[in-house]
């Protein structure tokens, strides 16, 4: 399958701050690719380079066969971009924003209506309302409609689910899935590790560097240790005690329990149980669990 995005050795610094260090990755045509990492990892910088809004210091990026520097005009007509911050005209109505975007790309809302129908029809009843007066979820639907109206092959979305409540988050992912089915390549960044499973492939990014690129399943399968989930009546005591255990490799709070890895390759769970009981922990529960993407991310961060 052809690659929609091909990034080779891209680096970018702002003064002394290194935002991206030698990033290389490729995105297949028609997949949902997730760029997953915390604030400050370099996600926005990378997306802006792909959207031709920022020049890389080194390296190259090709979008739908066009170079983001030399052929930036062609890239712009074949790529849709939804920035993290709502950037439409607040004092234009829904309808006017749509017409503006369509006109800028030399098309009309009518011509490409079928592309945005599923999303736009949900806000169309309010088309005379100004963008500034819309709720968060509606703004997002409008921004998405505007970024799709010129029939892009690739859609770049910069943290579309940040600060959005779980219901709207769920709706957004449902919309992305539909776009994928329509043949659009989706490149989406997110700080939420739990959204990894909604992507076909993901890149984990931290401090300007890629920690891993693969399908979510393969990343989880590459976790090379036995992961235990441990509970007790007093989380804080449990955490301090398990960290003092001579075989403790890592122990992190993880919601209601804590996640533990051992230094040894093989070990007995009852032994750990005994140790915790002897330290005075009560209602201790230990279970072997399958790692989540967040466990993998932390494991890779520690390994760096």
């Amino acid at each position: 399958m052809a690659n929609s995005i091909e990034i080779k050795n891209v680096s970018k610094s702002y003064g002394n701050t290194v935002a991206l260090k030698d990033i290389s990755l490729s995105v297949n045509s028609g997949e949902i690719f997730g760029l997953i990492g915390p604030d400050g990892a370099g996600k926005t910088t990378l997306i802006r380079i792909l959207a031709t809004l920022l020049l890389p210091d080194k390296g190259s990026a090709v979008m739908t066969n066009y170079d983001v520097v030399k052929d930036y005009k062609k890239v712009r007509s074949s790529v849709g971009y939804m920035p993290g911050k709502f950037s439409l005209y607040q004092d234009l109505t829904i309808e006017e924003n749509m017409q503006l975007y369509a006109t800028m790309f030399g098309t009309t809302v009518e011509e490409n209506y079928h592309l945005v129908k599923d999303i736009y029809s949900q806000i169309e009843p309010f088309k005379k309302r100004r963008a500034g007066k819309l709720s968060g979820g509606m703004k997002q639907k409008l921004a998405l409609s505007c970024s799709l109206i010129h029939k892009p092959e690739v859609l770049l979305l910069d943290e579309p689910t940040t600060g959005v409540d779980p219901v709207s988050r769920k709706e957004l992912w449902e919309m992305l899935k539909k776009l994928k089915n329509d043949g659009v390549t989706v490149f989406v960044s997110t700080p939420y590790m739990d959204e990894a499973s909604l992507c076909d492939r993901i890149a984990l990014i931290q401090a300007g560097e890629i920690l891993g690129i693969d399908t979510p399943e393969s990343i989880v399968n590459s976790f090379d240790k036995t992961l235990l989930s441990i509970n007790s009546s007093d989380k804080y005591k449990l955490l301090n005690d398990i960290r003092s255990y001579e075989h403790c490799n890592s122990a992190f709070p993880f919601g209601e329990s804590l996640h533990y890895t051992d230094k040894r390759t093989s070990f007995d769970i009852p032994q750990i149980y005994e140790y915790l009981r002897n330290c005075g922990n009560t209602n201790v529960e230990i279970a072997v669990i399958k790692p989540a993407i967040e466990d993998c991310f932390m494991n890779l961060m520690v390994g760096e």
């Binding site: 990492g37 915390p38 604030d39 400050g40 990892a41 709720s135 968060g136 940040t162 600060g163 409540d165 779980p166 219901v167 769920k170 700080p191 939420y192 590790m193 739990d194 931290q206 989380k235 804080y236 955490l239 992190f252 709070p253 993880f254 919601g255 209601e256 967040e294 991310f297 932390m298 961060m301 520690v302």
Partner: protein, 247 residues
């Protein structure tokens, strides 16, 4: 009069109306001393309005509530003195140095000069920032700022600290270090009230409540709620409640 009965926050039928709009609709709950209580809800559910009332910043329309034993109708100044507050959006002053920020908040919270000096040294040492005390806050990574901001919010040993979406966007390891600071604080008796719409933050709380359209729709430990709503995570519970409350 200060009440003391093992609860840091007691709320009964608390209501706030803005004109005809009922932002907070007769909510009732209690938060135990030393508990981590998560206050969840969608944007516009009424979380901020409720929290502003509990912090003594907004006067309720009706109902009753005490925070740290003080009445939020008649003793707002005492309420303010017994709480700490931290939000991700606003915490430390970027154009003051690390040392200046600690001293500034110590002063605001009414500590003596000697206490401020002691606390400043103590915090700088705890975070190994002694050598960076003269650096601007803006030079610190986000995660460090948040850890420091939390410590500053409890610099005056308040009974309760309010955290408004404290850890969104931070890397997973730093985020855990932040929660460990919270556990450390609750272990020494501080009550923590967290508002958030990041559902994975909710999993760290002892108990959570979920608000929708001004009302509290569910309340309990994350574990109990997950079994009550047959969901594998808090996110699913939230979606179920927001879509019409089906269990």
């Amino acid at each position: 009069m200060k009440k003391s009965n093992g609860y840091s926050i007691e709320v009964s039928n608390l209501t706030k109306k803005f004109g005809d709009f009922v932002a907070v609709d007769s909510i009732s709950f209690q938060v135990k001393k030393g508990e981590i209580f998560g206050f969840l809800g969608a944007n516009g559910a009424g979380k901020s309005t409720a929290m502003r009332m509990l912090c003594g910043l907004l006067s309720p329309t009706s109902g009753e509530a005490t925070v740290g034993g003080y009445d939020i109708f008649s003793e707002t100044e005492k309420v303010k003195r017994s709480i700490g507050y931290m939000s991700q959006k606003f915490s430390l002053y970027e154009d003051l140095t690390i040392g200046e920020n600690i001293e500034f908040y110590g002063g605001i919270y009414g500590l003596s000069k000697l206490q401020i000096k002691e606390k400043t040294e103590q915090l700088l040492e705890k975070f190994q920032l002694t050598e960076k005390r003269k650096s601007l806050i803006s030079s610190l990574p986000l995660g460090w700022k948040q850890k420091l901001a939390f410590s500053v919010a409890i610099v005056h040993n308040p009974e309760i600290v309010f955290l408004d979406e404290p850890t969104g966007g931070v890397d997973p390891i730093t985020r855990r270090q932040f929660w460990e600071l919270i556990y450390e604080a609750t272990n020494s008796g501080v009550t923590v009230f967290v508002t958030t719409h990041y559902m994975d933050e909710a999993e760290y709380c002892d108990r959570i409540s979920m608000m929708s359209e001004g009302k509290i729709m569910a309340i309990g430990s994350p574990r109990d709620l997950k079994s009550e709503y047959s969901s594998s995570n808090v996110d699913e519970i939230f979606v179920k409640i927001a879509r019409g409350g089906g269990k």
